[in-house]
């Protein structure tokens, strides 16, 4: 009888213990879930400080320049910075933007943390107006404004720096080299997630339209690129853009649907684009000649200057004439 009582008590205590364990397990599991969720959110969305962004961006820019080289035509660099600066004024985040040209035929544009935006010589050769350039740069500014690449890096947690939460230290040495390698690998070989690309198209369109440009600039450029046949040279020029962005046609369709909301009164500025970005500026040989040539005094009467007609305007081979200078044109050929 005593044994039966003991057994009964044992059974009751077993049931109570099971129930307590179940409840406790549930509570522990919930707590673990919440902690895990909070950790994931912190890892992805704790933004890099301005100084971290600057250091990482600059190291990544050096790596990008190492791959493609830097195109240093002063007039064109200034022009790209003026157009980029105009659209970047419409971005809300306080980032010091830097625009530069990569010395490659590849047609693409790349943004890096810290406000670094690169466009290639190949892209500039195939853009037809300032509004197209503004739309392209605005898309990259939008990536930086929304910290897209940074978020990708943090979510991948490939490096120790990216794994850490709320880091305040500045990466340096081997760690910075690894991190910049990670940034460039992401920028040049991986596709940023589709929703981030769509957001950059949408936000970029907004920046360029608010800046006063024709909102259809990026759409027009992408539409042109979508009509390019898949020949060997073209594939080489466009392969990089294709592998890091959604297909042109899809983006054109998305942009078309967004454009309905914007007035059709923005500036195209085709002539100004042709004035700054012209075949002469692309030629290394002519650039070298121009750099070596002494500056001609524009006011010297009878001075003969060489030039070429480009985009309906006369572009001088060397130097510029002051506004209002009277000229007489002699057509050579």
């Amino acid at each position: 009888m005593r044994t039966l009582k003991f057994t009964f008590l044992l059974l009751v205590s077993g049931i109570v213990s099971y129930s307590a364990h179940a409840q406790l397990g549930d509570a522990i599991r919930k707590a673990q879930n919440n902690a895990s969720k909070a950790k994931r959110v912190a890892n992805i969305y704790t933004p890099w400080s301005a100084e971290q962004e600057r250091v990482i961006g600059e190291a990544s820019a050096a790596k990008l320049i190492n791959i493609f080289g830097l195109y240093e035509n002063q007039d064109m660099v200034k022009y790209v910075n003026l157009v980029g600066g105009t659209v970047a004024r419409q971005a809300g985040r306080n980032v010091p933007y830097h625009f530069a040209i990569l010395d490659t035929e590849v047609v693409t544009a790349v943004s890096l943390p810290g406000g670094f935006v690169f466009i290639t010589r190949g892209a500039l050769a195939n853009i037809h107006s300032e509004s197209e350039l503004a739309g392209t740069l605005a898309h990259e500014v939008a990536h930086i404004d929304r910290r897209h690449l940074e978020k990708e890096i943090r979510s991948q947690k490939a490096s120790q720096f990216a794994k850490e939460e709320t880091v305040s230290r500045i990466p340096q040495g081997a760690e910075l080299v690894n991190l910049s390698g990670e940034v460039i690998r992401n920028a040049l070989t991986l596709q940023v997630s589709r929703d981030k690309e769509t957001e950059a198209d949408q936000v970029g369109l907004d920046f360029s339209a608010k800046a006063g440009y024709d909102a259809a600039g990026l759409r027009n450029f992408l539409q042109f690129l979508s009509q390019v046949p898949a020949s060997g040279e073209n594939r080489k020029q466009l392969g990089l853009w294709g592998s890091t962005h959604p297909p042109f046609n899809e983006r054109v369709a998305t942009l078309n649907s967004l454009l309905a909301k914007y007035p059709n009164n923005g500036q195209l500025l085709q002539d100004r684009y042709s004035w700054y970005v012209n075949p002469l500026n692309f030629s290394k040989a002519i650039q070298a000649t121009a750099a070596a040539a002494p500056t001609r005094a524009p006011s010297a009467g009878g001075a003969e200057l060489d030039g070429i007609v480009s985009g309906g305007m006369i572009v001088l081979q060397s130097g510029r004439l002051a506004e209002g200078t009277k000229v007489k044109i002699r057509v050579v050929e």
């Binding site: 057994t7 044992l10 059974l11 077993g14 213990s17 099971y18 397990g25 599991r29 673990q32 895990s36 994931r40 890892n43 933004p47 961006g57 190291a59 820019a61 050096a62 790596k63 190492n66 791959i67 003026l82 600066g85 004024r89 419409q90 971005a91 985040r93 830097h98 530069a100 010395d103 490659t104 035929e105 590849v106 810290g114 670094f116 500039l124 050769a125 990708e152 979510s155 991948q156 490939a158 040049l188 997630s193 589709r194 929703d195 006063g212 390019v228 046949p229 898949a230 020949s231 080489k236 020029q237 466009l238 392969g239 959604p246 297909p247 500036q267 002469l280 692309f282 030629s283 002519i286």
Partner: protein
């Protein structure tokens, strides 16, 4: 006989309690798995996580479709327009496609190469380049663009 009966009951209870213990251990297993989930998800994009949606809360259930399904590359080219090359002379021909293969992808050797001191100096030049605000204003005015900048927002 009575002893045998008692032993049988004690044995049954012991078996029951052991079963309870095992059940509890199995019950707690998913929580352990979930803890290791972030590591396993290395390399996933935000979009993929969004696609998984509610499934994220139960890591034992895989997403309905492979995360990369949507990003399957569509044909890139299709038209008849030819791209312009910015190479105008023989002198700049060597600068054409450094670093890319015939498909336009950046070669691995270039991705892993370390930048030189000269590259770092050029990056610093890019970082220190500043447009004169007065010149920017004139540029905006000349192009009949919007002279008003957007208000600065707090960092996100």
């Amino acid at each position: 006989m009575k002893n045998a009966k008692t032993r049988l009951i004690v044995f049954s209870v012991t078996i029951f309690l052991m079963g309870t213990g095992s059940a509890l251990a199995i019950f707690q297993q998913p929580a352990g798995n979930q803890q290791s989930q972030p590591g396993q998800q290395q390399g996933q994009t935000d979009e993929q996580k969004k696609k998984q949606g509610k499934d994220n809360q139960d890591p034992n259930h895989p997403p309905a479709k492979p995360p990369n399904d949507d990003s399957k590359p569509a044909p890139l080219f299709g038209g008849t327009v030819n791209l312009k090359s910015s190479r105008q002379t023989k002198d700049s021909a060597s600068l054409g496609f450094n670093g890319v293969d015939p498909n336009g992808q950046v070669a691995k050797s270039f991705l892993t190469a370390s930048p030189t001191g000269a590259d770092a100096a050029k990056a610093q030049t890019v970082a220190s380049y500043k447009v004169d605000p007065a010149e920017l204003n004139k540029f905006i005015q000349d192009g009949s663009l919007n002279p008003n900048a957007a208000p600065q927002k707090s960092d996100n």
